[in-house]
Symmetry: C2
Subunit: 339 residues, 2 copies
């Protein structure tokens, strides 16, 4: 059977209170006692039960991480740094991929609450804002990741999506592209990128039309689909700004299959700078999010929230960096004109 604190106490000839003290390294006692107890714990291969200790009001030492899809490299890279930092801070993490599905959001949130996680890191956008509101009212620490909390009044760690969108678009615009399509997701972060897109258009003195925006969800297949859709409608622009690398890769693949040369016929800029951006050919021009710093920061913030009474409501914005690689080039049409 499982070794309990009683077994240790008995074998060490002390009370369970004493054992508890050595486990938690609290209280005073003779050195010899501490040593003896530790020795017995060792011998018995004793592991204190986190369950039991959590039940007495201590923490469960686990974090809930909600992401849209852990198999999306952006989130798996993020998860990795979160996991590492969490472990450094003494916490484990339970992962949940919501697919941004309303039922799963609810289900996983409830599940994690039942498991009494010490805090939530929410990188998945919620359809039902009320769920988040409810969660907030429970006082369980929570931090939004990759999406500004905005109205919710909750701490968030994200990249400056507006600027990212602006930079990507400016890059394309200054390359002579005038007809650019932005492929966005249905999330707040995409919305901000669209605003950045719009702002860049206006700054450069061009006119922005809302029909430059295409919506989809993050996957290679969907990126390809968008490209084909444009092709069928004979509306292919000279450049595409995809709101994440997965979609961008899909566009690249679709282009290749249809004999469209990149970047000669079509320029593409992605977002995230995942591993995929460097392994594709041509390598992908994309907006980098500082994944490691963000992952580390989000854990530090949630740990602070767990340890302090007062929840913070700061909105932490990281700086995006445009990584110019090989899928973006000067608009041929403009070139010809100039020649």
């Amino acid at each position: 059977m499982k070794v309990t604190i009683y077994d240790v106490a008995k074998k060490a000839g002390v009370s369970i209170a004493t054992v508890s003290k050595v486990i938690n390294n609290t209280g005073n006692m003779r050195d010899s006692t501490r040593t003896k107890v530790m020795k017995v714990m060792e011998e018995l291969n004793y592991y204190p039960s986190v369950m039991a200790s959590a039940l007495t009001g201590k923490r469960t030492q686990t974090l809930g991480l909600l992401v849209p899809d852990i198999s999306n490299p952006f989130f798996s890279e993020m998860a990795r740094t979160i996991e590492d930092r969490a472990h450094e801070r003494g916490l484990s993490v339970i992962m949940c991929s919501t697919d941004e599905d309303e039922d799963k959001e609810k289900k996983y949130l409830e599940l994690l609450r039942r498991k009494q996680v010490d805090g939530f890191i929410i990188a998945s956008s919620f359809h039902d804002k009320k769920l988040l509101q409810d969660l907030k009212s429970t006082q369980i620490p929570m931090v939004m990741l990759t999406q500004d909390a905005g109205s919710l009044g909750v701490t968030s760690v994200s990249v400056d999506d507006f600027t990212g969108g602006y930079d990507a678009t400016s890059h394309l615009l200054s390359l002579g592209h005038q007809k650019i399509v932005i492929i966005a997701e249905e999330r707040l972060s995409s919305k901000m990128r669209i605003y950045g897109f719009q702002e860049a258009y206006e700054t450069h003195g061009y006119e922005y039309h809302s029909d430059m925006v295409l919506r989809t969800t993050a996957s290679i297949a969907n990126g390809k689909k968008c490209l084909e859709q444009m092709l069928n409608r004979d509306e292919l622009p000279s450049a595409i700004f995809a709101c994440n690398d997965l979609i961008a890769i899909g566009v690249i693949q679709g282009a290749r299959e249809n004999g469209i040369r990149i970047p000669e016929d079509l320029s593409i800029v992605g977002f995230d700078n995942t591993i995929l951006a460097t392994t594709t050919v041509p390598s992908l021009t994309t907006v980098a999010q500082p994944i490691n710093e963000m992952g580390r920061k989000v854990v530090d913030v949630i740990v602070d929230n767990i340890n302090n009474e007062e929840p913070t409501t700061e909105r932490i914005l990281f700086k995006p960096t445009l990584m110019v690689r090989n899928t973006s080039a000067r608009n041929q049409y403009v070139n010809k004109k100039m020649v």
Copy 2:
């Protein structure tokens, strides 16, 4: 404060025992009672504590997943299917990336035991076999994933690595390559792939030398390093079989940077068939592991183990599939001879 079973009982005007029964859907009681209690639970927003219930001998309903690195697409794709299936079966999963580091292996194993996970899925290879032996002796259900349990006598879910190695090598050999280098990891699965490699050599009537084997750990950077190392020593073969896609991609990148054409000058075969295999150019010839089926199966096996007294010890082997794409081609040298 947190809503407990007592709050529900009080408000519903029943005892906690009754509430417990409706939670677990056990025992008999008047329909009206059950309904009333459920209504109160709803109103109070009551979530039974998994902690407390686990303490009374029930399960924690969580699985521990040990992988080398969750940001490796192979493992993140695997984690995704595991997570999904686990949730379907009512379990959550705590992820731990060990980096195949001896200290982390030990630390995470202990951590997960303290958290009383119901079972372990171990996809990370352990340096210290004794840890695994100890774990096994605790009777906590465990399943090895992507590595045959072999001597341990524990259930395992893996791909037939020997055949995978054999197929990849045969493919290359029959393409006229005689000098092939295999880049392997320090894991059991790699070892089996090497044996498959060796077997293919022998079957095809060629001579196998142990200096055809290079060792490294899974990363793009390491793959590139291996390529450069061969280059420096002027020992570049006409084909390389990398034991996973990450390494293969690194080799491709290294080759490109050094002006080596793929597949004209160098053929490459990877292993795993991750998302990377399709996004690189040329697309990667690789040995596919049925990730989804494996992930699903491993959860089903562990759940069975949790529910039954008797631990199983079956070794489940999935069939690998060679995906011939564009990084492997006929050896030029042989071609010329034939012409």
